[in-house]
């Protein structure tokens, strides 16, 4: 359930292109034809699906404050648990991404030259696609809890990006038959269409909020009796009533 929710949320509500405006450059530059858009989109899904979990592991076991505690089993800032390497996260995330992209390029070239030829030029472009780094940074700042969820998030964001570039490529193929003012043709009208599509996608944002915080509190209250005690004092002193908790 949790996976499904995160999956759809990352495709539609937090769509990389329309909600966070990441990965715009390659989105605008490589969307002239549906076939090339599909190639690039597939590559983005793959790279996101691989790099987000890898970066999750890096973040969990190396980068975050106290993450090195597993080396000597220490806690509370003694020994290795006292290190906070989060200043290295940008560098390590980028290195992972660039390495993965280059690795994918080498593997594809070796085993499937035909795929490489149709995809080849787009692969290096992915390293500079900010949607990829954005995926890892969001994963870090939103505290995604498990490796499985991180993978789901990576795949979901990738699919969201794929759908976006597919949609704009299809529109651009059709718009050739429309009478667009000459100076707007090509890039100009693409910018404007994307703006309109983004406005449309904003309506998904309404599904985002509501009840998250409350649910979390209820869950905690069931687990720990101490919490109920606090809630009780709160209710008697200020007569707070909360339907969910009582």
């Amino acid at each position: 359930m949790e996976h499904l929710e995160l999956f759809f949320k990352s495709i539609f509500i937090d769509n990389m292109v329309f909600a966070t405006f990441l990965g715009m450059c390659s989105y605008l530059a490589v969307s002239k034809k549906v076939s090339t858009a599909v190639g690039l989109g597939a590559a983005v899904i793959f790279v996101l699906a691989v790099t987000v979990p890898i970066n999750w592991l890096l973040d969990q076991y190396i980068l975050r404050d106290g993450a090195l505690a597993w080396i000597d089993g220490s806690s509370n800032g003694e020994g290795y648990s006292g290190y906070d390497l989060s200043f290295l996260s940008f560098i390590l995330f980028i290195a992972t991404i660039a390495t993965m992209v280059q690795l994918v390029e080498i593997v594809v070239e070796k085993f499937s030259p035909s795929l490489y030829n149709s995809l080849g030029i787009f692969l290096p472009l992915i390293a500079v696609n900010c949607a990829i780094l954005g995926g890892s940074l969001f994963m870090q700042s939103r505290d995604i809890q498990t490796l499985g969820l991180a993978t789901t998030y990576g795949i979901g964001s990738g699919i969201g990006w794929f759908l976006a570039i597919l949609a704009i490529a299809a529109i651009r193929e059709k718009i050739r038959y429309s009478n667009v003012p000459a100076p707007l043709r090509g890039l100009g009208i693409t910018f404007i269409i994307t703006g309109l599509m983004a406005i449309g996608f904003m309506s998904f944002g309404g599904m985002l909020t509501g009840g998250e915080e409350e649910e979390e509190e209820t869950a905690v209250a069931i687990k720990t009796p101490a919490q109920e005690e606090i809630n009780e004092t709160a209710t008697t002193v200020v007569s707070t009533t909360n339907e969910k908790e009582n």
């Binding site: 106290g66 939103r142 919490q227 606090i230 709160a234 002193v237 200020v238």
Partner: protein, 245 residues
């Protein structure tokens, strides 16, 4: 020129680069750590004092003017009388309150979380300054809200790690933070928190008893983050403030 395409060269280059870059960054991070930590401590003190009205705003109504860093240490000890830590439903006086790392605590379950509370006094009036930590659109947001005995907000400061400049980042602007002053967190004896509301037809925030402040245009999710942060944090503090007064 050496052959820059060979595997040996590539690996050698990569190794040297990792060592050089890693060395520079590690040296920089360790060398600058004391100065950065000190700046962060001053900032925290400035924020706590700002929330309880100790600032250099004077007649300026447009911008946020903190106590200057060279005076803040002294002012902090002058105004903040007691510090407490609330943990597991119990409150205890503690000098460690200032050192509590809100980011780390926010990841723990509510029952085991350490929650600091600063009690200050200015012009014979008591202020309860409550630190809070939550999430905006992109990354963390945090702030300090000062309440008086009647649970009415006397001041607030907010800050953020990476909200959109010009939109969500406006939570640290004076006009947004000032809106909170005078709002009660209770409604007819019940806890209500404060909601950052869109289109409440009260852009000047003249109605102070509606538990609402006016939202920032174009920054819905950041505003909702502030609402959620305030609601969930203040709730656990109320019984303890009631006991202290």
């Amino acid at each position: 020129m050496a052959n820059t395409d060979g595997n040996g060269y590539t690996i050698g280059f990569a190794t040297i680069m990792v060592i050089v870059v890693g060395g520079i960054l590690a040296a920089l991070a360790t060398g600058l750590k004391p100065a950065i930590k000190e700046n962060e401590r001053f900032e925290k003190q400035q924020n706590i004092l700002y929330a309880m009205g100790v600032n250099e705003n004077g007649d300026d109504t447009g911008s946020v003017n903190f106590i200057p860093t060279d005076k803040v240490e002294e002012e902090f000890t002058k105004y903040i009388k007691e510090t407490y830590i609330i943990q597991g439903g119990k409150i205890a006086q503690s000098d460690e309150a200032f050192k509590v790392d809100m980011k780390k605590e926010s990841k723990l379950a509510k029952s085991t979380r350490k929650m600091p509370l600063y009690v200050g006094e200015r012009d014979g009036k008591k202020f309860y300054v409550i630190p809070m930590y939550g999430k905006g659109l992109w990354d963390a947001i945090w702030g300090y809200v000062a309440l008086d005995d009647q649970l009415v907000v006397q001041g607030a400061t907010f800050d953020h790690k990476g909200e959109t400049p010009g939109l969500g980042a406006n939570i640290k602007e004076r006009y947004f933070m000032d809106d909170f002053i005078g709002e009660s967190i209770m409604n007819n004896g019940k806890y209500a928190g404060i909601t950052v509301a869109k289109g409440n037809n009260d852009p000047k925030n003249l109605t102070k008893d509606d538990n609402e402040v006016d939202a920032m245009a174009g920054a819905t999710i950041t505003g909702d983050g502030v609402t959620a942060m305030i609601k969930s944090t203040l709730k656990s503090y109320i019984p303890h403030i009631q006991k202290l007064k």
